[in-house]
Every structure is written in structure tokens, then in C-alpha cells.
């Protein structure tokens, strides 16, 4: 018994059956890929959307307001009749740059699969207490917001009665409302930065509507309780995010939910030797979502963390279609422009553009480093000369931005394109 190549050649194997993987697989099939396979480690397709039972999904893509399971359900329904194969409860152990995939599951055993193209759609995971080093005891009752969401929404269990939320990322905000609706008392949401990391609509709908205070520029400096959380001590921080002595506030709580960031889950990518961008923590990608390993594409939160699933869908459709073209023998080639981060920009996706392969133009997604308001310009320039400027009135790190650079402008660029934010003072 060994792990032999046993299923023939696939055109596109998609790793992950969440919103990114679903959109990529469907787009690959529509673009002509014959044999498409989705490998999903959970027992059902849909990924994290399955536990996101709140609404607000699909406003851009479907022009209506759906819950997470509804949004996923629309794509799952589209699989019927396409011939796209799905293996559930299947964990990918490794991939190689020559596009071999090793996976295991109860049903299929140890599988060694070969594909012409691969789409990485593994999503992201939550940062934990250990990553941010919160001092104090280590009792039960400290959950990442997503884990708590799973217990509450999928398993039907409450994780606490008096809750403090650290971090104002979207999942934390959503869980503030969810825990309140389930009868828990949410005491406060604590954010170390001077601005929220979540969408403004979530601040309004999940905190303000329920009178939950948001403490900006604060953090937890101590956790107490031996077996279960009994207390959290919160303090104001200075501009270097260092706690200011004397500003401590005690909260008697039995639960702390952490919403302190998401990290693209790139262990497979890393072990395959595919270069990652230290800023996004995802693979470097070209305009068609191809990584620096030819034939291996990536999309969704495994590339960079999105705040709206609609953009995950759009990005993943591009990745899936490009993977299908690669499987059919087409190659995106030509010299590449790098996309550099100028003033105020923390990252861009893609990080490189091959104008010859760019079609009519390229969408560049990015995040800014701080909150800006007023008369703002997003400037794209090359060789010191502006290519284009886009007007905005508000920019915030919690809200992903994008601009579209038409092919004609790309052709004017040489070597690199730098993206920066300019504040226009009148």
C-alpha cells in the first residue's frame, strides 16, 4: 500500500472550499477546465461563511444583503451539473512546485494527486494571545472571536456571560452583537490603535446600537483568574502603544474574546518554496493571481485579508480563470512591473504586473497605514511621474481600497509603479 498517483491528471486542483475556492473552481470550469477538484478539510463547503450567520454579505456582488451561509449556498448550488469534483474532510499535507498534491481523508485515504494548475484558497487564521503576549494568568475563557463564533453559531453553546472584547476587527464587533443577543453582557470593546480595525458599519450596528463602549488607544495589561477568567485590567496606551501607568480600569468578566488580526494560512505555500510577501503574509502574486511558482495561483484571504467576501469572489474568479488558461497551455508572460508601496500605503495586491498579460487593465487592491480624511489623492506613479490620481475623502486601514489602472497607463510605466497617498491642502 502506498500513496501512488491514482486519479489521473486534473486540470485545476483548488485547495480550500470556502468562498475563494468555490469561486475559483467555478470560474476555472467556466473558462474551460475539464477536470476540476476542490479539496476541503471540513465536512461541508462554504468555509468560514458557514458560521457567519449575520447579514451584510453580497451587497456588491449580488446587490442584495445575504447571510454568510446564503452567500456560500449560492455558489455551492452552482456546482451542480458542472462536474466539479469535491472531496470533503480532506486535508492537504503538502504540495510541490510541479503541482503534485498529497492529501489525506478517512474516505479516500492517502491521496497523491497531480494537476496542471493549482489554486491556493486556504483562507486565514486568527492571531492568538500568544502572538500579542498579553500578561496575566492563563485560565479558560479566552477565545479568539472566530472560535467563539463557531461554538455559538455552529455548536449551539455559549462561551461566557460577561464578556470583554480585545481588538475591534470585524469578527470581534460581530461577536459583540451576537453575544449580546444571546443574553451575555458585553462590557466593552478594547482597541490598542487610535482607530478601529473594522468596518464603520459594524462599529455602528454592533457596538453603538447596543451601547457597548469602544475604548480606543487602550489594551489589556493583565488577566486574572486561575481556572476561569475573573478579571481583565485595561489601560490607556501612549503613541508607541505602551500602557500608561495610572490609567488602569478593571473589568469583572468571565470571558475575553480576541479579535486582534488575521494571518493568511500559508504553511503549504511556504513548504512548497513559493515566495511570500512579508507585508501581506501571503504569496507574491501577479495580475492574474499567479504566484511566483508557474501554474500555482492564490486567491482570497490566503493572499491578503479581505474585509468583504464580494472582493474575495471577484479575485478568486480571476485566479480560477487564469488557472484554467494555464492548464490549457496558455502562459502569462512578458516583463513585469513591480508595484511598490509609497507614502501611506501598507501593501498592494498584486505585487507585480505583466502588462502584456493584463488585458484591458488591472485592479490594484491596497490598504493604507493610517486614517485619512479630507481632500485625498491615491497617486500611482512611475519613474517619478504620475500615471493617475484618484480622489477620495476618507481612507482607513480597516477598509481595503482599490483602483483600476487601464492598459494604456500600464504601457506608460517603466520598471515599477509606486502607489502613495497624498493629502491636498487648500
Amino acid at each position: 500500500m502506498s500513496c501512488a498517483v491514482n486519479s489521473g491528471m486534473y486540470d485545476v486542483i483548488v485547495i480550500g472550499g470556502g468562498p475563494a475556492g468555490l469561486a475559483a473552481a467555478l470560474a476555472a470550469r467556466e473558462a474551460g477546465a475539464q477536470r476540476v477538484l476542490i479539496l476541503e478539510r471540513d465536512g461541508e463547503l462554504g468555509g468560514i461563511l458557514n458560521q457567519c450567520i449575520h447579514n451584510g454579505f453580497g451587497l456588491h456582488y449580488f446587490k442584495e444583503e445575504l447571510t454568510g451561509p446564503e452567500y456560500a449556498g449560492r455558489f455551492i448550488a452552482r456546482l451542480a451539473g458542472t462536474g466539479i469534483e469535491v472531496r470533503l474532510n480532506t486535508m492537504v499535507l503538502d504540495i510541490t512546485r510541479d503541482r503534485q498534491v498529497c492529501a489525506v481523508s478517512r474516505q479516500y485515504g492517502c491521496q497523491m494527486l497531480q494537476s496542471r494548475a493549482i489554486v491556493l484558497a486556504m483562507g486565514c487564521r486568527e492571531r492568538t494571545r500568544g502572538a500579542i503576549g498579553i500578561p496575566g494568568t492563563r485560565p479558560a475563557g479566552i477565545f479568539t472571536a472566530g472560535t467563539a463564533q463557531r461554538y455559538v453559531n455552529m455548536e449551539g453553546y455559549m462561551v461566557g456571560r460577561r464578556v470583554l472584547i480585545l481588538g475591534s476587527g470585524d469578527i470581534g464587533l460581530i461577536m459583540a452583537r451576537r453575544m449580546t443577543l444571546e443574553g451575555a453582557k458585553v462590557l466593552a470593546c478594547i482597541e490598542v490603535m487610535p482607530y478601529s480595525g473594522g468596518l464603520n458599519r459594524n462599529i455602528v450596528q454592533c457596538l453603538q446600537d447596543f451601547d457597548i463602549p469602544l475604548y480606543l488607544s487602550h489594551t489589556i495589561v493583565d488577566i486574572r483568574g486561575e481556572r476561569r477568567v475573573e478579571k481583565a485590567v485595561v489601560a490607556r496606551v501612549d503613541e508607541h502603544r505602551r500602557p500608561i501607568p495610572g490609567t488602569e480600569i478593571g473589568f469583572d468578566c468571565d470571558t475575553i474574546l480576541l479579535s486582534v488580526g488575521l494571518i493568511p494560512e500559508n504553511e503549504l505555500t511556504r513548504t512548497a518554496g513559493i515566495p511570500l510577501d512579508g507585508r501581506t503574509k501571503g504569496a507574491y502574486v501577479y495580475e492574474n493571481m499567479e504566484t511566483r511558482a508557474p501554474g500555482i495561483f492564490a486567491c482570497g484571504n490566503v493572499v491578503h485579508v479581505h474585509d468583504l467576501v464580494d472582493y474575495v469572489t471577484a479575485e478568486s474568479q480571476r485566479a480560477g480563470a487564469a488557472a484554467a488558461r494555464f492548464a490549457a497551455g496558455a502562459r502569462a508572460e512578458g516583463p513585469a512591473l513591480t508595484v511598490e508601496n509609497g507614502a501611506g500605503v501598507s501593501y498592494t495586491v498584486p505585487q507585480a504586473i505583466r502588462p502584456a498579460a493584463a488585458g484591458k487593465g488591472v485592479d490594484i487592491f491596497f490598504r493604507v497605514r493610517a486614517v485619512y480624511s479630507g481632500d485625498l489623492r491615491i497617486v500611482a506613479e512611475s519613474g517619478g511621474a504620475p500615471l493617475a490620481a484618484f480622489r477620495r475623502e476618507h481612507l482607513a486601514p480597516g477598509e481595503m481600497e482599490h483602483i483600476t489602472l487601464p492598459k494604456a497607463l500600464l504601457d506608460k510605466a517603466a520598471g515599477s509603479i509606486t502607489m502613495r497617498i497624498e493629502e491636498v491642502h487648500s
Partner: protein, 482 residues
């Protein structure tokens, strides 16, 4: 009436139990918590020290070197992860070189083999990520180990050989019996034994005082740590120690048997396992003396442990009262010394009249062999899943721990009753997401295997409850997730 009652099932109590269970005795082990290895044993540097550190002539010196040799055999027999990485004690400044030389002489006196003093260049060639040093002491026999798995394996072997383990069984008092022996009062009733072995760790002074007035004083000493992601696991290949300086004892940087990097500890008189901002900052600063480029953003967990230091400066192995033997003051190198402490203690018990007749070899339990899915070759994995499909379901994605391994842990002689109990046995939740992904799945499996409601599954010790009730619209039937 038991022949021996051991109080405490950390690594010292477990080693004593493992040793004595192979003799024809009635033996019980009384553990206050809901699992073994749940105190200092699970929160320390995880080092099997070579033995150059203790002053020659001390119990520590003798039992360290002997313990390290016994640990090598026991880990091999009981299938406990142990890796002989060797250790380096660094001398950054010329004035630290004499200390390294002193350790070298002590090591020779203690019988440590293979010691060498390396030049700065030799150290740089061995460990390119270290700061420049003048010299370093290389001890090739130093090893890293999984301390709780070591203690668990010892305790399991004891149980399989007939030791009776009582969990959730704190001892509250002791009285001598007429005609010899002791009656112990516990949370689960009275236990009579001819001999009592006090292996209560940080609580050993309190247990001693149940039998006699204290003649040593416990000075609990907290040490704080960082555990770094596997991406940082290759930062150093050896256990890297520093010389003690006027700022105190140095901190170590070492690989772990799981492939992570451990950094710590500081030393502060405190009987608490809480982490502190100051303590962690101190550890970070000191560790960067050894590894200037240390990337603490790769931290996945902080923890703290309490050393059972005493005012004696050596292990406290003594008769508290006739028939009541203290194995106290088990500060570093207690983990290393544990099996030698057990052997030594057995000698004292024998002198006091306990008959240590060996059980016939053929009646002894066959030592455990663990299946570690991620360490198997692809073809072994395929064959295993074909035989037992539960090994095809990966529960912990960070560490590639399968349902098969968790089920096997649930069927061990000392099964887990908590999420962390599963972590200590199977490794689920040890990784970079720290159980964020697998905890709900482990909880579900544990609830099923133990036949208990998910509401009754703790994170770790009794009372560390995870779930507080059902949601408003949860399915009516108990425990079933939809």
C-alpha cells in the same frame, strides 16, 4: 494498607511510581489535580541537563548525572521524544571565561563525559545566529525532552504495572498509625500506607508539615517563557545557556522536541504562574544577548512555571518522620534527576524495611509505543489509514494530529479529561493557532469518548470550564452539535 503511598504525580512522583511498581508492592499515587504532570513538570525549560552545574558532592550533582543516564534509557524504552542536542554555556566577556572553566572542572568532578571548552570561532561555526563570544562550554550529553510526556509515560507504565492512581485527590492531613505507617486524609477518603513518599512539588513543605514541623522552607520561584513558532525552531541547534551575571542567572534559548524554540526563564520569587509584562520584557532582553536577531514576533505562547526552590540549595531528600519520606526542593535539575531520585528514594525505603522484590519480567507491562502520524512516511500513513480510517481525519491542522491519535490517547491507561489533557498526550493544539481551530473538534471527540456533556469538559484543571450553557435556539437534545 498500601505498602507505599506517593503524594503527587509530577515527574518525581511518576518516576518513583514507575520504579516501585516493578516491585512486589501495593502502591498508590495520590494526585491533587485532574491529570498527572500538571504542575512544575509541564512548565519548565524541558532540558535534561548534562550535570556540570551542581557543586560536586551535592545530591543534585550525583542525581543529575545518574538521572540523565537513566532518562536516556527510559525515554528510549517508553518512546518519549528526547533529542541529544548538546548544550553551550556562553562567555560573552573575558571576565566570564573563568566561570565557564569552573563549570568544566565541576563537570569533570561530577563525572560528565565529553565536555570541551570551545573558542569563539568554534562556537560561531556551530551556531551562526549567536552573538560573538569569547568561549563556551560544550556539553554533548545535554538533551531536550518533552517533560509532560515523559512524566505521563512513567505514570502510565506504573499504572500498567499495578500502581493505583487517584486523580482529584488532594491530601489534607496525615496521622501516624499505631504499629507504624500513616493514615492520609484525602478528598476521596482515607488512605493507609506503611510508607508515604512526599513528591508534592511546590506543595512539598505543606505536605511535610502534615507529618512534622518544617525543617526547610520552600521559596517558590517563577520563571517566564516564550514559545516560538516552528518557523523559528532552527534558530539554534544546541541548548544555549548564559553565565550568571550581576543581573542574575541568564536565560536559555533552545530548540524543543516539537521543533519550536523555547526562550526563558527569568527568576522571581513568586508562587504564581501568571505572566507579567516586566518578566517577559526581561526574558526578551536577556535572550537577545545570546541571539541578537531573535524574532519574538514568532511567539505562539507565553507561560510561566514555578520552581520548588528551598532555603537548602540542594534537593531535600529526607525522612520527615519515620515512614514519611520527603522528595522536596526539586528545583532544576529536578526533571533530569527524577529517575535517579526515584532510585535513591527506593534505597532509603529499603533501608527502612520495605522489601523491594522484583516482579518477574514476563509479568511486567510491555512499554507503550505511540503512533505519531506526522512522523510516518507517506506509505506508512497510507497503510495506517487503510487499516484505521480515523488516522485519515486531521483534527489539529498546525501539528497534523489525527483523530486516530486523539482516540488512542483517550484509550491510554491514564486517559485525558480536558482539552489540555489531549494536548499533552496527542499534541493537538500545540501549534501556531493554539487550538483555535481544533479545540471545538477535540471537545466534541472528548465529550463522545468520555460520555460527558460538552459543558463538563474543562480546558485544563477542574473548574476551568469552557462553555457556559446552550444558546437560545440550540437543539434541545443534549450535547449534539448541528
Amino acid at each position: 494498607m498500601y505498602d507505599v503511598a506517593i503524594i503527587g504525580c509530577g515527574v518525581v512522583g511518576a518516576a518513583a511510581a514507575q520504579y516501585l511498581a516493578r516491585r512486589r508492592l501495593r502502591l498508590c499515587v495520590l494526585e491533587a489535580e485532574n491529570d498527572v504532570a500538571d504542575g512544575t513538570t509541564k512548565a519548565n525549560s524541558a532540558i535534561l541537563h548534562a550535570g556540570y552545574d551542581p557543586a560536586p558532592g551535592t545530591l543534585m550533582a550525583r542525581l543529575n548525572v545518574r538521572g540523565a543516564a537513566l532518562a536516556r534509557e527510559l525515554c528510549a524504552v517508553l518512546d518519549v521524544p528526547r533529542k541529544e542536542t548538546g548544550s553551550l554555556v556562553l562567555a560573552f566577556a573575558p571576565e566570564e571565561v573563568p566561570h565557564v572553566e569552573e563549570l568544566y572542572r565541576r563537570g569533570l568532578a561530577n563525572g560528565v563525559e565529553g565536555l570541551r571548552i570551545l573558542s569563539g570561532e568554534e562556537v560561531a561555526a556551530l551556531e551562526p545566529n549567536l552573538a560573538p563570544v569569547q568561549a563556551a562550554l560544550l556539553a554533548p550529553s545535554a538533551a531536550i525532552v518533552n517533560p509532560w510526556e515523559y512524566a505521563l509515560a512513567l505514570a502510565e507504565n506504573a499504572v500498567e504495572n499495578g500502581a493505583e492512581l487517584q486523580l482529584n485527590c488532594p491530601v489534607t492531613g496525615a496521622q501516624p498509625l499505631d504499629g507504624g505507617g500513616w493514615r492520609l486524609h484525602t478528598a476521596r477518603g482515607e488512605v493507609d500506607a506503611r510508607f508515604v513518599v512526599n513528591a508534592a512539588g511546590v506543595a512539598a513543605q505543606r505536605v511535610h508539615e502534615m507529618a512534622a514541623p518544617a525543617n526547610f522552607r520552600t521559596v517558590p520561584c517563577r520563571g517566564e517563557y516564550y514559545l516560538l513558532d516552528k518557523s523559528a525552531g532552527g534558530t539554534v541547534q544546541h541548548v544555549i545557556f548564559q553565565c550568571p551575571s550581576k543581573e542574575g542567572k541568564g536565560v536559555l534559548v533552545a530548540p524543543t522536541v516539537h521543533g519550536n524554540l523555547i526562550v526563558g526563564p527569568n527568576a522571581e520569587d513568586a508562587d504564581s504562574t501568571a505572566n507579567t509584562a516586566q518578566g517577559l520584557a526581561q526574558v526578551a532582553e536577556k535572550a537577545r544577548r545570546s541571539v541578537p536577531g531573535l524574532d519574538l514576533s514568532a511567539s505562539i505562547r507565553n507561560f510561566a512555571g514555578v520552581r520548588a526552590n528551598t532555603d537548602r540549595g540542594d534537593f531535600v531528600i529526607q525522612w520527615a518522620a519515620p515512614g514519611f519520606l520527603d522528595l522536596a526542593g526539586m528545583q532544576s535539575p529536578g526533571l533530569t534527576a527524577a529517575p535517579a531520585v526515584a532510585e535513591y528514594a527506593a534505597g532509603l525505603l529499603e533501608e527502612a524495611g520495605l522489601v523491594l522484590a522484583e516482579k518477574p519480567a514476563e509479568t511486567l507491562a510491555v512499554p507503550r509505543k505511540k503512533i505519531r502520524f506526522r512522523e510516518l512516511s507517506r506509505s506508512e500513513q497510507a497503510a495506517l489509514i487503510a487499516r484505521q480510517p480515523a488516522y485519515g481525519r486531521v483534527i489539529c491542522r498546525c501539528e497534523t494530529i489525527t483523530e486516530g491519535e486523539i482516540l488512542a490517547a483517550c484509550r491510554e491507561p491514564i486517559p485525558p479529561c480536558s482539552i489540555d489533557g489531549v494536548k499533552r498526550r496527542a499534541g493537538a493544539g500545540m501549534g501556531r493557532c493554539q487550538g483555535g481551530f481544533c479545540s471545538p473538534r477535540v471537545l466534541e471527540i472528548l465529550s463522545r469518548e468520555l460520555g460527558r456533556s460538552p459543558l463538563d469538559i474543562p480546558q485544563d484543571k477542574a473548574g476551568s470550564f469552557i462553555l457556559t450553557g446552550r444558546t437560545k435556539q440550540a437543539p434541545a437534545k443534549g450535547g449534539e452539535a448541528q
